[in-house]
Amino acid sequence: MDKLFDEAVARLFADMSEKSDHSLDLSCADYEAAWSEIAASGFLDVMLPEEKGGAGLSLKEAGNLFKLEGYFNLPVPFASTLLARRWLDSNGLTVPDESIVMATMGVQVSEGQGQIVINKLPFGHRAGHFLVLARQSCYLLSQEKAVVNEIYHTGLFASVSWNLEDAIRLDVSAQAVESLRNLAALAALVSSVGAMEKIFEMTLEYANQRQQFGRPLSKFQAIQHQISVLAEQVWAARMAAQIACNSNGYLPDPNLLAIAKYQVSFVSDQVADIAHAVHGAIGITEEYALHFYTRRVREFKSEAGTQSYWARELGRYVLKQEGESVLSMLTGELCPG
């Protein structure tokens, strides 16, 4: 079942990626066209329960779909929307038709000025809605009411403000607030692993093709060893994505999520650095697509919490389990079962 979804979604996204030449640079009309194409495909509902017209996919089944957003550098928050739709539905809230970004970091709420400002918001000038976590509460914000202060280069993030009165405070449990935080991290890490897979493929291909000193780069031991290290990091990140998605429901296990987000953020810069080192100057040019993917990887390592943030979460848990050894945790609750 899920394999079929993967392939169909991948075909659709490959077309979109080709049209935009890997970039996120879309006009408003193009964005809306891209979004309608995804919406018309029905893939947005795959995580909704069957009685709501969805396919009821669990994280385990849908995990690979989230990767595709990064792998094709999709100009829309696909992973985030899928998860947010399920979160909204599970909490008895209305599910909007437009794309949804979950934002949990750097949300400034100023009562005095009556404003909410988020200076680094993924797809901030594009997405239809934003589920925002601030002061232990969830707010729903819409693009319609947004003031875009700045769109950062290439359009992956924007700085956006809202009037406080336009923020809809959602009446959800503390547990739901916690879930939202975890889902935001999940979307960030898994889509980032997709971008890493693309980076790895591009690097391997380039090393085989580019000739210097009369032979392909891939024949130089210094290059081979760098690519071997890159493979180790990408393989560890892929495993981390599977660990995070090891759930038969739509919520990740909090400890497994912390492990995975740590691991992916931990290798992010190393993956990007090696890819650029192997590519040389061409990787720094605008015309060559590598930078779209390395930017994603570098930026998303901090989105929804850096490695230190999630290490702290996990470390706090580990310290608290009085009398439990690391071995018993690794083979117990920290082992994907």
């Binding site: 071997s228 290290v229 560890a236 495993m239 999630w310 290490a311 071995l327 945790m329």
Partner: protein, 383 residues
């Protein structure tokens, strides 16, 4: 070809085995402090190995007819993990159990199997592996030790070095040249089993940076081996050794070498109330990386259980795993040094110093980083 690693799960029935093991190991190692545990699979205690044998846990994967338990790869993973995770002193039987036994089972004659395997399962035959020589380290195919065919069998001359436990083992499985010259590289190499009590064998332990002597130099001077010392086929030594190394590279040995230090640090953090954010970040990061590596190692075990040969993937996990093992003492030292008011215990100080100093060996034994990265690159089609 570098294959994807799919998340694998241990079969339910291994839980009971794990509980039994854990209780036994706890009891049998209760006198050991972290400093002793930090030797990991270099900690030698023949008595402990005998106790494991009495429980039926040596030769776990060997057939029952030779005294084994006929269990699968997953059981072996659990056994290795529990022993290494606790820092139990497994060195005496480790190589016989992990490598020599399976090698003899695979390539040995029926007579060899009947002679060696029951002894291995009873903890009465400890093995070492003679590979490196004074002038042949990573370039293993350049070895010069030679076994010359004669009317009594094989006449052995040459020397081996860095041989783990040679001075405490009964037998060595040595890679030697049986025909041709060093320039013939992989051709003409064979494996022979050497009884280390034979005349002409001299073993000299080498003291390492920790003050331990876990490896040795071994000299062979006209050592007369019988005909049946040859294991497997004459001339197939290279292929046999590589099959063996794939086995060696895949296990929990490449994750848990610094585990005694991690457990010691965690215990002390709890006891001394070291709970700062820095401590949380340090511990959380180490545990996260351990958890990911463990699932990678388990994924490889699952491939072995399916009859695949994941030798490239095993090299990847080993290179990545030893990196973490070597980072652990640095991360802990850096964290501890941030707080002048902390007063770490003697046990923690000693254990940290030991692991810090010996950890370069983690990425030397069983194939250096450079060798492993070469294997991965070949798997990716780069060479």
């Amino acid at each position: 070809m570098l294959d994807v690693l799919d998340l694998a799960y241990l079969p339910q029935e291994e839980n009971q085995f794990r509980r039994e093991l854990r209780a036994f190991i706890k009891e049998a190692t209760q006198e050991m402090d972290a400093y002793a545990r930090a030797r990991s699979w270099m900690g030698f205690d023949a008595g402990f190995s005998k106790k494991l044998a009495a429980k039926g846990w040596l030769g776990l994967t060997l057939p029952k007819q030779y005294g084994g338990a006929e269990k699968g790869y997953f059981s072996r993973f659990v056994l290795s993990e529990e022993l290494l995770g606790a820092g139990a002193p497994v060195s005496a039987h480790w190589i016989a159990d992990r490598q020599s036994g399976p090698l003899i089972l695979r390539y040995g004659t029926e007579a060899q199997k009947q002679f060696y395997l029951p002894k291995i399962c009873q903890g009465e035959a400890f093995f070492c592996i003679g590979m490196s020589e004074p002038n042949s380290g990573s370039d293993l195919a350049s070895i010069k030790t030679r076994a010359q065919k004669n009317d009594k069998g094989w006449l052995l001359n040459g020397s081996k070095i860095w041989t783990t436990n040679a001075h405490q083992s009964h037998y060595m499985i040595a890679l030697v040249r049986t025909s041709g010259e060093a320039g013939d590289r992989h051709k003409g190499l064979s494996q022979v089993i050497v009884d280390l009590s034979l005349p002409g064998v001299t073993v000299r332990p080498i003291v390492d940076v920790a003050g331990d002597a876990h490896f040795s130099e071994v000299f062979f001077s006209d050592v007369q081996l019988a005909d049946d010392a040859l294991i497997g086929n004459e001339g197939d030594g290279w292929e046999q050794v590589n099959a063996e190394l794939a086995f060696e590279r895949s296990g929990p040995e490449r994750i848990y070498s610094s585990m005694a230090l991690v457990e010691c640090f965690l215990k002390e953090c709890r006891q001394q109330g070291w709970q700062s954010e820095r401590v949380q970040v340090t511990l959380g990061g180490i545990v996260a990386r351990l958890a990911v590596l463990r699932t990678m190692s388990l994924a490889i075990t699952s491939k072995l259980a399916k009859g695949e040969n994941p030798s490239v993937e095993a090299s990847l996990v080993k290179d990545y795993g030893t990196g973490l093992e070597q980072d652990i003492p640095k991360l802990i030292a850096d964290c501890m040094g941030e707080y002048p008011e902390w007063t770490p215990s003697v046990e923690l100080i000693k254990t940290l110093a030991l692991v810090d100093q010996v950890c370069p060996s983690y990425s030397l034994r069983g194939g250096t980083r450079e060798i492993l990265r070469g294997i991965i690159a070949r798997g990716l089609g780069l060479r």
